[in-house]
Structure formats: C-alpha cells, structure tokens
Amino acid sequence: MQIDSEFLFSEIEKLEIEDWEKVALKKLVLAELSGKSAAQMREMLESQSGGDEQ
C-alpha cells in the first residue's frame, strides 16, 4: 500500500517533541519510504549530527 508521507508528517508535527527531532524524524521517514538501509541511515545520522539542532 502506498504510504502517504504527508499524513505521517502531519502526525509528526502534532507531537510535543523538539523541532530538531521533528526535522530529523521527517528525514528518516523519507529515507525509510525510499528504502534506505540501516547502514545508510547510520551514515545520514552521523553526517547530520548537530545540524538539525540549529
């Protein structure tokens, strides 16, 4: 079934979490929907570290 990323983003927006978490989680959603592996996700998290918090 085609997962609607807009719906998932809107659910993330409603959460009471920090902004950097919202941004990073949305990026992870896109990575997951495009079929990225755990290793690719690790790379992504390591390279992004710190960037989303600003």
């Binding site: 609607d4 998932l8 989680l25 592996s37 755990a38 690790r42 998290l45 570290s49």
Partner: protein
C-alpha cells in the same frame, strides 16, 4: 479506480466470457444469475488474479478439462482497471496457468502474472509493469481485501472473520506504521553498532563484557516480545473460535440451552438405568440367597403336577412331559432335587439324553416328586424377605416411572431442537466449556512473557548506564555517545509518532462509522475502537449497546465503507449475495447507503459497486428501489451441454418463471 473489463478463459464455469463495465454510464453494476451460474466464480477469479489463491475446487472448467487432449488446458483471468492519479491511465492484470487432471485433482503449473499499462491516446496495453506482486500489494492490499471483496451471506460473521487482529493490521497499514516500524528497527541496529564501537573504544574489558551481556538481555527482550505476539495470536484465535460458537448458537436459536438440558436429561436417564439395574441385581441376589429359587422351582413343579394330572385324567400315565418343561428344569442350573447340575457337566448331559432319547419321564417324575416336597416349605419362607422385596420393587417402580417421564421429556426436547448436525452442536457445547480455560492459560503465558521482557529491559537499562560510565573518558567516545543519545531520542519520537498515527486513524474511523451508523440506528451511542481493535458500539456510560442481528450486519457494511472513506480507497466494492440475510427494512437502508456512496461526487469520482445477486435477492422491489441510480444489469445464462455460463445484458428471461419474479412485466 474502476473495473472496466473482466475476461475469462476456461475459468471454472466462466469460459470465453468477456464482461464490459461502462463506467462512464454508471458506477453500479449487477451481475445476476440463479445460484450455480458463476457469481462466486467471478469473485474467485478476482481473488485468483490478484493474489494467486486458487479456489478449493480448482481453477479450470471441468468440461473443457475433460475434453482437452494432448497437453494441459490453459486457464486465464484478465481484469482491466481504469486508474486515477497513477502511473498509467489503465492497466490490464492477467493471470494464466496450465492445468492437467491428476488422480482426480487439478494440477497447475507455469502460473504467470503480468501487468501491462496503457497511457492516454494509446489503443493497446504495451507497457509492462515491473515487480507485479508489489504493484498489486500497493494498490489492492491483501490485508484490506476483506473490506472490498466479500460475501453478504457471511455478514453475520464479519466481525468474527474480520478479527480484531485483522482490523488492527488494516488500521496500522492505513496509519503507515510500517514506515515508523522500519525506522525503529533500523535505529535499533544502528544504536547497537554504536554501542559495540563504544565498548571497544573504551579499551575496558568490563565495558566489552557488559556490552556482550547487554546484547544478550536485548535479545531476551526481543524473544519475549515474539512470545507476547505469539500468545496474542493464540488468544485472538481462541476468542474468534468462541465468538464463532456464540454466533453458531445464535443462529440456531436457543439450541445451546436445549442441548445442555438434553445432556442433563440423558445423564439422569443413564444414572437411573444404572440405579434400577443395580437394585434389580441386588434384589435378585437377595431372593436367590433367601430361597426364591424355590419359588421358581415351585412354578415348575406346579406345571409338572398339572401335566401329570392331565395325563392321569387322559389315561396317559406315565405322562410325557413336554420338552419345554424339561428344558426349564435344566436351565435352572440345579438338579430337580436340589443338587447342582452345572451346564456341560456329566449329569447335565445324562439328563439331556434322558429327555431327548429315552424320555424316561417316569424316573424324572420321581425326582420331581421329591422336589415337590420342598414346595411344602414355601409358605414358611421369611415374610420379611418378601416385604423387603416388595419395598425394593416399589422403589424400582418409582425410578422406572421417573425414567419414563424423562424419556418423554427428551422426545419433546428433541422435537424442539432444530435440525443440523447434532454431533457438531454437541461438540461445540463441549468446546465452549473448555475455551475459557484455554484463553486463561494463554493469557498466563502472555503475562509471563511480559514479565520476562520487563525484567530483561531493566537489565538492559542498568547495563547501558554502567557502560556509559566506563566509556565516557575519550573524546571519540563522547561523539559516539552523542550519536546514541540523538538516535535514542529519535527512536522514542518515532514510537510516539507511530502511536499518534494509529490513534488518529482510529479516531477518524470511529467518526466515519458513527456518521453512517447514526443514519441506520437511532439513540445515544458511539463507536469505539479499543486498543486491541475491537469495534464496539457503546452507550454514554461506556457499556456495550445490544445490537440486533440486522444492525450487526449493517454495522459490517458501515465499517467496510468507513474504512474506504478514511483511507480514500477506491477499489470497486465487489459483493456476492450483498443482501444476505438482511430484512426488507435493512435492504432498503443498504440501497440508500450505496446511493449515498455514489451520489456525492458524481459518476467520475464515486465508488464502483458490483453486486452479484440471485433471483430471490434482486427482486422487482429491489430493482425499483435501485432504479434512480440507473444501474447496469447483466445476467449469467448457463449452457448445460458445455457447463459454462455466458453474460448478457438485462434481466434473465427465465427469472419470470421464478416465484420471486412472477407477475413482473419487464418494465
């Protein structure tokens, strides 16, 4: 998405059939036919084409398969869909297979699925779709199939077949939790990798061994989670079985109660029989031990004396005693003079010889004379023995009376019990008694697994803290620790989002069900989808609202349609025997509901509905009610010689001979 064409070759009863659905004209299509004309074959073909699941009785037309020589029979089903906002304007989904008959069963090989696309302006389907199974799964999710492809005859069982687990799967699928779950799993793997790196980087043997331990507990927690899920499945299956039994008895009226009563009566009769038999045995022993054999012998003596007197009277002395009388004496197992003559003994043999060959009745008569002396003792036999005997006889008579009364009651009960398989019904009564214990035992197993998981997670947390202390020192480790902290925060956020998405879909579904169900049922109630996905109708105090059988069936339709609404799902609603066991009032409501489903946005955007109906269902009244929707009517006409059905437009002329259509003038 609309179904525009269905084509079958040698598929069950549908052979060389091509059905066009003109979706520019209407969204409502009826494929009608007497029972056994291929309505179910149509649904079977759709299941088979989309999911590759063949019906139990095979895919091939039996007549064509029997006639086929020199190789297998090719069977195919093609469904053409007009798409909306998709890769192509239309697609043609085709499944084919080769069938041979082996040992009475249809064997298939070389099954193939192909999907070809067509764009606007193109006249034929030429563009192949890659990953066909995946393409189908994304557009016709198997987990949602029961909400668009079902049998109205089993509407009563809708919330039994469509278990809480399946509703949960559907809700989770709609909520897209697959994405969040994927993130959670992958983040878990990444965090584990970082932790390993951290332990190794610390150069501390304790940190490394703690990490090994931590991972062991992590695995134990995962194993327990699998055990919890397995126990949940067992509990769901058992609850489903229990609900099915309840439904079964609901359908058969109060048979469960009657069967229970019947069992109790049978038990009482059987116990009375045993009591009567026991008392008779006791009575018999008592009488034997106290001399009743004399009474029996006396009866024989009386017969002997009577026969002797008759002989004297007729001047036939010595009398020729009847063979029957002699046999009686022998059967007593005692000598006529009180001596034991066991069957098969020498004396027994001699006596038999006397009777049968020599008929020395005079000698026997003398013995009998001696025996008659015992009869003199008869009156002196204990009066109390016979008082006790008659008292016991009275008790036996009472018990026999009670037994007869119960046997009469049993007959009445059996007359009241409905038909069906009595053994099956009895087995269900017994099963129903056992199920609560099995559910409770599965729940205990589940609780045990939950405890084990919690315990393992506590260990994991504690080890994480100690590893953190041991690995804090280097700056490289501080960086990795930072990654872990961020990833854990994101993992927690993914879990929250996961939960929020499910809750959101659940709330949307509750509202959508309520909106439609309020049209059908009046009163203060609301729909509640519980955490474990039970669809409840509750009153303001939270208690369950009792729904009639008709309301329950309508709730099934309402739920299936609400799900479409929430998900924006546009697969045609293909229902075999859609009116099932609905009464006339609910039939009207269903027509209204289907009308509402299509009237809001016009033919272009509405939901396509394909109803497969028989003559008792699609009556002139239903036809009249549906007429404002301008449905396209088709019928399946059977050709006996070829064992196939063909499709024609309109109403089957043969229906006018059927009771339900008599008097209809073909308006």
């Amino acid at each position: 998405m609309k179904l525009t064409r269905a084509e079958f070759m040698h598929f069950k009863i549908l052979d060389a059939v091509n059905i066009q659905f003109d979706v520019a004209q209407t969204n409502i299509f009826f494929v009608n036919g007497f029972n056994g004309r291929g309505k179910t074959s149509f649904q079977d073909a759709l299941y088979w084409c989309l999911y590759g699941r063949a019906p139990e009785d095979g895919v091939a037309n039996r007549h064509a398969l029997a006639k086929k020589t020199g190789g297998p029979l090719e069977v195919s089903a093609i469904f053409e869909f007009k798409l909306e906002d998709d890769d192509f304007e239309s697609v043609e989904i085709r499944r084919t297979t080769e069938v041979t008959m082996e040992k009475g069963f249809q064997r298939t090989k070389n099954a193939r699925l192909s999907i070809l696309g067509r764009n606007p302006g193109e006249s034929s389907f030429t563009q192949p779709v890659a990953n066909e199974e995946q393409w189908i799964h994304r557009r016709f999710p198997d987990g949602l199939q029961q909400f668009f492809l079902f049998d109205g005859e089993s509407l009563e069982k809708f919330f039994v077949n469509t278990t809480k687990e399946r509703i949960g799967t559907a809700v989770r699928e709609i909520a897209g939790v697959e994405a969040f779950e994927g993130i959670e799993t992958k983040l878990g793997l990444v965090i584990n990798e970082w932790r390993k790196q951290l332990a190794k980087g610390s150069q501390s043997g304790t940190a490394v061994s703690s990490e090994v331990k931590r991972q062991k507990y992590q695995r134990a927690a995962e194993d327990s989670r699998a055990s919890i899920a397995a126990a949940d499945r067992v509990i769901a299956d058992l609850e489903k079985e229990l609900a099915e039994i309840d439904l079964y008895f609901e359908r058969f009226g109060n048979n469960a109660g009657l069967l229970q009563e019947e069992t109790e009566i049978r038990r009482r009769i059987s116990s009375l029989k045993a009591e009567i038999q026991g008392q008779k045995f006791e009575q018999h022993n008592r009488l034997l031990s106290e001399g009743i054999e004399f009474a029996v012998q006396r009866k024989i003596i009386e017969d002997v004396v009577r026969e002797k007197e008759d002989a004297i009277r007729n001047d036939e002395y010595p009398p020729q005693f009847s063979e029957n009388l002699m046999k009686k004496i022998l059967e007593l197992g005692r000598c006529v003079c009180g001596e034991q003559v066991p069957s098969g003994s020498e004396k027994h043999r001699v006596l038999e010889k006397l009777i049968h060959e020599h008929r020395d009745v005079d000698a026997i008569g003398q013995d009998l004379q001696k025996l008659s002396a015992y009869a003199e003792y008869w009156p002196s036999l204990s009066a109390s023995t016979f008082h006790g005997f008659s008292e016991q006889s009275k008790t036996i008579a009472e018990k026999v009376g009670e037994m007869k009364e119960l046997e009469g009651k049993l007959e009445d009960l059996q007359a009241r019990l409905m038909g069906g398989d009595r053994e099956e019904q009895q087995a269900k009564v017994e099963r129903k008694k056992k199920l609560p214990y099995e559910i409770s035992s599965a729940e205990t197993e589940r609780n045990k697994a939950v405890e084990q998981r919690e315990w393992a997670l506590v260990e994991v947390k504690s080890l994480e803290k100690s590893i953190e202390k041991l690995t804090k020192s280097s700056s490289a480790n501080a960086k990795v620790s930072g990654f872990i902290a961020r990833a854990e925060a994101l993992n927690q956020a993914a879990r929250l989002a996961h939960r929020a998405a499910v809750d959101s879909v659940r709330t949307n579904l509750e509202e959508a069900v309520d909106e439609e169900f309020k049209v059908i049922k009046t009163g203060a109630f609301k729909t509640q989808i519980t955490d474990d996905f039970e669809v409840r109708t509750v009153a303001s105090d939270g208690g369950n609202v009792k729904l009639s059988s008709g309301e329950n069936m309508m709730k099934a339709y309402v739920f299936a349609l609400a799900l479409r609404k929430v998900i924006g799902f546009k697969f045609p609603l293909v229902i075999d025997t859609p009116f099932g066991r609905l009464d006339s009032e609910n039939r009207k409501r269903l027509v209204d509901m289907i009308t509402r489903l299509n009237s809001t946005k016009g033919t272009e955007h509405g939901n396509q509905v394909i109803f497969l109906m028989h003559d008792l269902e699609y009556t002139p009244q239903i036809k009249e009610t549906f007429s404002p929707n301008k449905p396209v009517e088709m019928y399946l006409a059977y050709q006996k010689e070829e064992e196939v059905s063909q499709v024609h437009e309109g109403i089957d002329p043969a229906w006018q001979q059927a009771d339900s259509w008599k008097g209809w003038k073909g308006k």
